[in-house]
Structures are given as C-alpha cells and as structure tokens.
C-alpha cells in the first residue's frame, strides 16, 4: 500500500472537516450570545468588526480584543477552541507585518546585530506591528463568536431576515448541506485508491493519477448535482419557505445592544 500527499491530506482534511461540521455543539450551550437573536447578533458583531477595523489606537484595540474574550467567556465558548481560532490566523499576520518594526522611521528601541548588518527596531514600528496583530485578533475573535455561538441555519435565517438575495442564500445552504457528503466521498475514493496501489509512483505518474482522481471526483459531484437538480424539479423546486420561529427580544438582546452601542460611542468619542 502506497500513501502519497494527496492520500494523507484527504484523510486529514476529511477527518478535521467532518469533526468541525459535526461537533457544532457550542451553539447549543446556555450562554450569553446563544440567547441573543441571530439578527441582532449578526448586526452587532459585524458592527464590532467595523469599529475594530477603523481603530488605530493600541489601547482601544486591546480593549476590543478584551471585549471579544469577555463575550467568549460569557458565552461559555471553550477557551482552547477560542484561543486556537484566534491564534491560527493572527500568527501568520504578525509575521507578514513584523518587518515594519525595523522599516518604520522613529526613535530606536533596540539594535539587532546580524552577521551582515545591524537592524534598528523603532518605537513606531513595534507599536504598528502590535496594533496590527491585535486588530486582526479582535476581528477574528468577533467573527469566531458569530460562528461558534450560532447554528448555521440561524446565520442563514438572519441573512434572510436582512433581505439578502434568496438565490445567494439557497446556494450557500445547498453547498453547506452537501459538504459533509463530499468529504466522505473523498475519503471513500482515497481508501479505494490506496487499497489498489502497491508500488511507489514517480512524481509525473502521481500527478497524472491525482488528476484522474480529482477529475473523477468532479464528475461524481456533477452527476450527483444533476440528480439532485432533477429531484428538486420533480418536487416543485428548492425555494426555501422558512417557518417563522418567533424569538422574543429578551434581556440578552438588550444587554448585547448596550455593549455594541458602548463600543461604537467609545470609538466615536476617541476620534
């Protein structure tokens, strides 16, 4: 049995994606943001991301990151999950802007002696790099709160209430509904491929078989799509007719609105 990069990645990705899609239990927890109406939560968290994007002051950004962490704790989001969500995109962002610590002009903080040259780390450079990383982390934190505390159906219902185009919502819903199936299809195809290969392949041969593999996967996807399309047509279409789920405005909604209003007013006053 021969295992190459494509095999390994299918196994890893399918397992992770399946676990990700199936383990969405946090939205069911009895927490603060879970009690907030999805429309209010979507609008409020996007407003907080906008406030964060337009903020440059390091202390204000740190306060916004603190707010994201506080909301996560109040919503009983597992600390490890939230920390992983925050750090995975933030660390590469930090690396991307890190050279600005020496590229920006300003008072020197430290000098790094390298074999070929010496680099001067400046105060404005460090302040920019820290503020940038904190801004990205806060934005990622607010988006993660939306995703971790809301069922995907709730997010779609919120978009529908906000009058997003019905076609866009249908496409997103269908794509999400079939993701798990396609990850499992990929796993099945990988298992079949792996169990029929016994000799190592050259890079050229590996690319050719991988191309056939992915081509076959796309054809299966296309054929399944045609079947689902015919079935949908036979049933009279896929137009979603959402049932009205009444969720009265409660204390959590008022509290969250107050938090968002406070952040917006604070940002305006800071300006």
């Amino acid at each position: 049995m021969v295992v190459d990069a494509l095999d390994r990645t299918v196994s890893t990705v399918s397992e992770r994606a399946t676990a990700f899609l199936l383990s969405a239990t946090v939205p069911e927890r009895d927490g603060f943001l879970q009690a907030v109406h999805p429309v209010a939560k979507l609008v409020g968290l996007v407003a907080l991301v906008v406030v964060t994007v337009v903020t440059d002051d390091g202390r204000a950004l740190a306060a916004l990151l603190g707010l994201a962490v506080a909301l996560a704790l109040a919503s009983r989001v597992p600390v490890g999950t939230f920390a992983e969500r925050l750090t995975l995109p933030t660390l590469p962002s930090l690396l991307v802007v890190a050279p600005q610590a020496v590229l920006m002009d300003g008072p020197a903080m430290a000098t790094l002696q390298l074999p070929v040259a010496s680099l001067t780390v400046t105060e404005p450079g460090v302040a920019y790099v820290v503020a940038f990383a904190v801004r990205v982390a806060a934005c990622v934190g607010f988006l993660s709160l939306l995703l971790l505390t809301t069922r995907f159906a709730g997010v779609l219902a919120a978009f529908r209430r906000l009058r997003a185009p019905p076609l866009a919502i249908t496409l997103i819903a269908v794509t999400h509904r079939y993701l798990l199936l396609f990850f499992r299809e990929l796993t099945r195809m990988t298992l079949a491929r792996r169990s029929r290969r016994f000799a190592p392949e050259s890079l050229r041969s590996s690319w050719r078989t991988s191309g056939s593999f992915l081509g076959t996967f796309f054809l299966r996807t296309f054929e399944r799509g045609e079947r689902v399309q015919r079935a949908a047509a036979a049933r009279g279409g896929t137009q979603m007719r959402p049932y009205a789920r009444r969720q009265p405005v409660g204390v959590a909604d008022a509290g969250f609105a107050a938090v968002v209003a406070l952040a917006v007013v604070g940002r305006v006053m800071l300006a």
């Binding site: 190459d4 990069a5 990645t9 990705v13 899609l21 991301v49 906008v50 964060t52 994007v53 337009v54 969500r85 962002s93 802007v97 920019y128 940038f132 801004r135 990205v136 934005c139 990622v140 988006l143 993660s144 939306l146 995703l147 995907f152 076609l167 866009a168 249908t170 496409l171 997103i172 269908v174 794509t175 999400h176 509904r177 079939y178 993701l179 199936l181 396609f182 990850f183 299809e185 990929l186 890079l203 590996s206 690319w207 050719r208 991988s210 191309g211 056939s212 992915l214 081509g215 076959t216 796309f218 996807t221 296309f222 689902v228 399309q229 949908a232 047509a233 279409g237 896929t238 137009q239």
Partner: protein, 213 residues
C-alpha cells in the same frame, strides 16, 4: 489568498463589496434563464465539490505541497457567470463556516477569487482553446490566479492599515503567484484532461474536440 479583517481600510473593503455585488448581480441576471430554482442544487453541489477539492494538497518536488483553488476550472466547467456565482458561494461558505477570510472584507475576497480569477481565467481559456485545449486550461489556471493575487495586492497596497507600499506588495504578491500559479495551472490542466477523457459532454463545445470526434 484570503484577506482577513483588519488588513484593508473600510473604504477599500466597501468599494470592493459594491463592485462584487454589482458583478454578481449582473452574472445572476445573465444566467437567469439557466439558473432557475430547480437548477440551483447543481451549482450548489459543484460549489461543495470545489470547496472539498480546494482542501487537498498536491505533491511537489522535495516533499512540499500546494493546493488547488479552482476558479479557472469552475469558469471552464460552468461558464464565467455560473463559475463566478459558484466560487462566490465557496468563498462565502469558507468565511461563514470555517472563518477563512473576514466578514467585512468578504466583498474583497469574492472580488479577487470569484470575479477576477474566474473572468480572467475564462477569457484566457477562450482565447487559447482553439489552438490547444490543455495548454489553454493550464494558462487559464496560471494567469487567472496571478490576476486574482494582483487584485488583492492592489487592495492591500491602497489600504493605510497595511503599511507596505503599493509597488512592494504588487511586486511580492505578483511574482510569488506568477511562480505558484504554475502549480495551479498544472492542476487545472491535469483535471481538465481527466474530465475531457471521461465526460467531454459536460464541458462546453470546442472546435478541436469536435474535429477529433
């Protein structure tokens, strides 16, 4: 190539969102006859397939790997307008389910990956397919992703939040993706070849294939 919230100025993100909304609305209107309520599942399922395929690593020399983006392939398979709607769906689901890319910059990510990459890739494929189909698919994948990266570089370079100069960002991202795009082009070509060999009928008609048949 997913841009995160915090990288772009709000004004740049807003302009990109408006441009994306306008182009996608145009695309939806152009395929109005094709994209009926009952045809939406086909597009949604192809989007799910592209989403899954994007997560696969392809072996490169020295134990390294790269992954497929598939914007040009979606354009070739579905046509530019359906391809743009399909990849826009993929990018949106990536943001709303997995948190890949931001929410305020969603319009910018859709613009780069679902509009620039798809339409540029399709235009190149159409221009070259009459000469050599596989080479056309390769070039479409290669230059399509490079164009998408250049678009992202311009957005980043114009944003004061991202402190690098416009020329520097365009040079680094353009050169990087011009090299990395060769892999995208090669994957697009081998997948295209596999689909043409197995089910040529799912792809748009080509004069070269008709002659061979």
């Amino acid at each position: 190539m997913h841009i995160l919230d915090g990288f772009l100025d709000l004004a740049v993100a807003a302009v990109c969102a408006l441009a994306s909304a306008a182009v996608l609305a145009y695309a939806a209107r152009r395929v109005d006859g094709e994209l009926s309520d009952a045809r939406a599942p086909l597009l949604g399922l192809v989007a799910a397939g592209i989403f899954a395929a994007q997560m696969l690593d392809w072996p490169i020399v020295g134990g390294t790997s790269a992954h497929f983006v598939g914007g040009a392939f979606a354009a070739i398979l579905l046509g530019p307008h359906l391809g743009a709607l399909c990849v826009a769906t993929v990018v949106t689901v990536q943001a709303l389910v997995f948190g890949d890319g931001g929410v305020v910059v969603l319009g910018a990510n859709v613009f780069n990956m679902a509009i620039v990459e798809v339409y540029v890739g399709y235009a190149i494929y159409r221009a070259l397919a009459g000469h050599h189909e596989i080479a056309a698919a390769f070039t479409a994948g290669w230059l399509g992703i490079t164009a998408g990266a250049l678009s992202a570089a311009v957005q980043l370079g114009l944003s004061s939040a991202f402190a690098y100069e416009l020329g520097t960002v365009v040079l680094i991202m353009g050169a990087g993706h011009l090299a990395l795009g060769l892999i995208e082009g090669a994957i697009t070509a081998v997948v295209y070849r596999a689909v043409v060999d197995a089910r040529p009928d799912v792809l748009p008609a080509s004069p070269l294939r008709e002659v061979k048949a």
